[in-house]
Point group: C2
Chain length 231, copies 2
């Protein structure tokens, strides 16, 4: 039984850059489940299966439609309980939420103002207006203004990664000796950045970069299968 994943795509259909879809993609691989992805553009709200929140990821597993990366992870953990666990139990699941909240409020919030113009460049032409308008409204500035002094802001961004850095200095993965859902959550943010921007977020000798390399190597180099910049 192959699961269908609606996956955000750029102007090139194979450039997949949603941090949330990458969480799901890695979680499906972790569970050893076959997947067929459907490239989807920001403005194709009506092309998603019902019930439809207008956002990806959405999976269709036989007759079951699940949207939202967190709901999908919970669904997979329960439906495929006999396969390797994404969370390692209730406490692990709760703490993965803390990691998710850090990822969204610190990591992704820190990445957006560094690469938002690059996202625009890689969006499908028919999605660019929507993307620019919605994001400029959020920032109250043009995308060009948002990224202008990004070099100067890079040291503060890198410093904000200290909790992650200290963790992967001392253990191979955030989840311990082997990767699990918390790793996929954080990795999704870095994969998003490298899929759409040549602005390197990480110094060459950063332990976070070594961890990112380990994540890229997982599942036969799954995450290297999309066009991207850098290592």
């Amino acid at each position: 039984m192959t699961i269908t994943l609606y996956d955000l795509a750029g102007a090139e259909a194979n450039r997949r850059f949603s941090p949330f879809c990458w969480r799901t993609r890695m979680a499906l691989a972790h569970k050893g489940l076959a997947v067929e992805t459907v490239p989807w553009g920001f403005t194709e709200k009506d092309r998603l299966p019902k019930p439809n929140a207008g956002r990806v990821p959405v999976i269709v597993d036989d007759a079951t439609v699940v949207h939202d990366s967190t709901a999908i992870a919970d669904y997979l953990e329960k439906r495929y309980a006999d396969r390797p666990s994404l969370f390692g139990g209730e406490i692990g699941r709760a703490l993965a939420r803390f990691v998710q909240n850090w990822t969204e409020t610190v990591l992704q919030a820190g990445i957006v103002p560094l690469v938002v113009l690059d996202i625009h460049r890689h969006a499908r032409p028919q999605d660019q207006d929507y993307f620019r308008r919605s994001r400029e409204e959020r920032f109250g500035r043009t995308l060009e203004e948002v990224v202008r002094d990004r070099e100067a802001r890079l040291p503060a961004f890198r410093a904000s990664l200290d909790p992650l850095r200290r963790t992967v200095e001392r253990q191979d993965f955030v989840s311990g000796k082997a990767p699990a859902y918390a790793d996929y959550t954080i990795f999704g943010a870095f994969q998003w950045a490298r899929a759409i921007s040549d602005f390197e977020l990480l110094a060459a000798d950063d332990p976070v970069r070594a961890w990112r390399g380990r994540m890229l190597d997982l599942y036969g180099g799954l995450a290297r299968g999309t066009p991207a910049y850098g290592d």
Copy 2:
């Protein structure tokens, strides 16, 4: 069998304010273990049992001496494996390290420059010189200068709690429905602040404050048993 805990004390022997000792205190209660605490001052390096790193917490369990809060938690989890788990398995333990690294690099690092002068005030008279000298060397400024504009820095500190805030808005404890070691790690930092400073870190309606209240209520109000400020 009662475990002995060497516990940092202030000028009043019952004012216990080490964030690291509070992690251990709560972990011992979680495991349902009886404890006798020995108040200890910053400069009493020679009063600790051997082997001795000159810091607390240190526990003595029968003939076993364990120092460092993380090593103690690992020891308790293994030695008392039949009692409620602190981590809920290997993934939970790994993710608790991420929470610990966030606590130390963001939370505690953010609290110190708000309350460091208050720590000095509560230290034993014979420890004050040591404390002032070592901390002023670290900051390169007097303690008075470090805390001067703390009101102005409070909004940024509160914003840095977003990952925690979002977590405890959606679940009672960081570790899920019930508290576990990741909660004790974070709580230690807040308990440290409230034991030595009347500078309230949290707004009255902050979900983090409600969580702190739940932590204070645990184990018969264990953490309310030390002199402190506020709720």
